[in-house]
Subunit: 467 residues, 2 copies
């Protein structure tokens, strides 16, 4: 077994060795050997390695990297390090690095930097690229336009396959993907696409118009970036072309960006369901104050909204004083209610996020949840009755009368049914009125379910126990 | 605004129109027009359309699809429909479809089918492919081997660029990706890779050995599929080669499969955190009984574990009878504790899933959470005091003495600190002992935090109120 684990992590060990070796070479100031080593490493790994290097050494190491590798590594570094580096770079160095960074990555970097650093970056870029960056930065946040790249290969209908290959060879190295080429007309309107696979299997004198696929899956600059990544996922694409309102090709979104969007959206949903405001940086790199800021509003909200549950309990103070044993079951009823509710709400919220469920399915959802909740309610009521009988009465010798057990079980059953109903409908209505369904999951549903379960509990108790 | 929304969904409208049109043609039995229409549609969309078609018409529609499109559409359909189709197909039809399905997709289909259908599928496949399918099915579940495909282009070191292109042209159409080709030696050991981009920019007589990249990021058949998708994500790859213990190339995992793995893993974490056993099918397609089965064990577990909280309350019955107002704050304390705990646990669990946090970071995590929790605890205690003063006393005229308010606030502060400590350490220890951290999130942490917060509450109350 030990052997197998080692085998599986062989590649990882190799990477660690390389990084260790790099540290040694940096210490020894053996830059020619270091250069050789780094040239064999992936940009993401070099960036990881540089995180542990004293910041004053980083610009020096950067200078020995070949131009393209330097740019790729720069993109992979975290924002703080990028900022330090830009400040340490001379104008020429900054220009050298930025000229090889793709436009979409440049936009990402600019968005995170303080104004004076942004000015330096923009100054280091050619006016032409600057205009393009400006365009992308004007698209709404979270739109396809804001995450697209403008580095793609475009062809015209009248080109031959041989001409297409010449164009790819000439410009390809600076494009984010060359494997799908887009065919446009004189006004840059998107007409079709042709893959390198098709080009390779066509005779050199074939005309693009005859071999292109005019059935293109495309998106528009103002589409939601989540929808764009869903397209890529659904159709197994390497890239999606982005067109403007006049159907002119303005950029592409590539599959690696789509993966980032998918991860980001999942993390946002996780955070919201745990009642946290989503954070941009990884946990270990976020400051204590920022973590506090992302959590405290929700805790405050829950605390204040708990006034309702407090009021309900206060209102039944006399009943509780007459039958103190009732208090002992409050945590169980509240927890079970909360859990039942979040089981339904998380399922529906993720279904909405993944596009599996829509508001139009609300009746189907309610019908399904009703049956599930009745099944859950009855089975849990029976189990609770047995548990009170066996554990509370026989094992712990507590004085729980049959009537109290009955009250608890009836409440349990109704709480589950109502919790699941609230849990499945609230996110759908939230979505309908343009509110984020994921935010509904934790604090709101918990508060409502808590209040409802207590109301049921005390009403049933008053009625059956006559208190 | 209305106009913008319409614009953004233009492509979707077009798709809906196409699907409507297809339904009309099916009704009119105009199969030649239908064929034309379907040939212009994406496999995923045809599969979606077929879901709403009466099942007896589906085999008929399948017959008019071109061979490759039929196979691609078949792969996109859901399991139930696939099964019906296979049963409806003649042996020849089944052979025709299956011969164009990639090996990894065939394995996926086989894994979902009942034994008699599996036998028919295997009979329809050539003995050679059958042996390969058998190999893949023997890799452990969730391993790279179990999700890899064997359709890739392999080259040898001595080939020239021109020969490489010939090989790609000859075999490429049946490969899942041609854009990265893998270089192997006589024993199939992986030596390097060469991209089509490199091939295109190299002279035709260049030798592969001279232009290949021998620094290959690879994985092994028994690696976790999650780790493989992390590689693809980290290095922005289109595919990762998979080698066996002798470093022989046996398959590749492509980026589209990596996206599926990422989504699956996120959905599993969501389900576990909401105390649901992860389900395989989308919600609307899962039976009521299966949903019940995925939820009820967790509800039962919570119900039984609530015995502890019940015992604690019973133990302090006298204190509660002396100061009934204390009961009113139980829900608030429990909810805040539960929320604080899950804020910490969900953050850590996702950090673990994404590989941002490891067990070795435990001291860093505890140090960070301690500071966050003290900040949260103090701010919430102060806010609670103000809330009791303003809302409970002034607004609602409840009889909450300063001493009781003080008890509640101190409990609040300590509950948050302890809840966050438990929330951040438990998932890390779970991971360490090989237990799934996500399962810890909901039921376990809630139960422990509930019990601890009640113990603190009553102890502080006894001490300060002398009851």
């Amino acid at each position: 077994m030990q052997d197998e684990i080692e085998f599986a992590t062989e590649a990882e060990d190799l990477l660690e060795e390389k990084i260790e070796h790099a540290y040694e070479l940096i210490e020894k100031k053996d830059y020619s050997k270091l250069k050789e080593l780094l040239e064999d490493m992936e940009p993401a790994d070099i960036a990881m390695m540089l995180e542990e290097v004293p910041i004053e050494n980083v610009p020096l190491i950067f200078r020995i990297l070949p131009k393209e590798l330097a740019a790729d590594t720069f993109v992979e570094m975290d924002t703080d390090q990028q900022e330090v580096l830009i400040r340490a770079f001379s104008d020429e160095e900054l220009e050298r690095v930025m000229s090889d960074v793709f436009v979409d990555d440049t936009v990402d970097i600019i968005e995170e930097m303080p104004a004076n650093v942004v000015r330096r970056i923009l100054r280091s870029i050619s006016p032409e690229r600057r205009a393009k960056i400006n365009d992308i930065m004007h698209y709404p946040e979270d739109s396809a336009g804001s995450i697209m790249t403008i580095e793609y290969v475009d062809l015209t209908e009248s080109m031959t396959v041989a001409e297409a290959f010449t164009k790819i060879r000439e410009t390809g190295l600076n494009k984010e993907t060359i494997y799908t080429c887009y065919v446009i007309d004189r006004n840059r309107k998107l007409l079709g696409l042709v893959t390198v696979m098709t080009l390779l299997t066509s005779p050199p004198d074939a005309v693009i118009a005859d071999i292109m696929d005019d059935n293109v899956i495309y998106t528009t600059t103002d589409s939601d970036k989540e929808d764009v990544s869903k397209l890529i996922e659904k159709y197994d694409l390497l890239a999606v072309p982005v067109v403007d309102r006049e159907h002119r090709l303005v950029g592409i979104v590539t599959v690696d960006d789509a993966i980032d969007v998918i991860q980001e959206e999942a993390e946002e949903d996780f955070a919201k369901m745990a009642a946290i405001t989503p954070m941009e940086k990884p946990y270990l790199k976020t400051s204590v104050f920022n973590i506090w800021k992302s959590r405290i509003p929700w805790l405050m909200l829950m605390m204040v909204s708990a006034t309702f549950t407090g009021m309900i309990i206060s209102g039944f103070e006399n009943a509780l004083q007459a039958e103190v044993v009732l208090t002992a079951f409050i945590p169980m009823l509240m927890d079970t209610g909360g859990n039942s509710g979040s089981q339904a709400s998380v399922t529906i919220i993720r279904g909405l996020s993944l596009g599996e469920i829509e508001f139009g399915d609300i009746l189907k959802v309610i019908w399904k949840e009703s049956r599930v909740s009745i099944l859950c309610g009855i089975s849990l009521a029976v189990a609770t009755f047995l548990k009170i009988l066996l554990i509370n009465r026989l094992l712990l010798h507590e004085h729980v009368s049959f009537m109290v057990a009955f009250v608890v079980c009836i409440t349990m059953c109704f709480t589950i049914i109502i919790a699941k109903f609230i849990g499945c409908t609230l996110p759908l209505f939230a979505k309908k009125i343009g509110f984020d369904p994921a935010v509904m999951a934790s604090p709101f549903i918990t508060t409502i379910v808590d209040a409802v379960s207590l109301l049921i509990y005390f009403s049933v108790a008053k009625w059956l126990l006559g208190i």
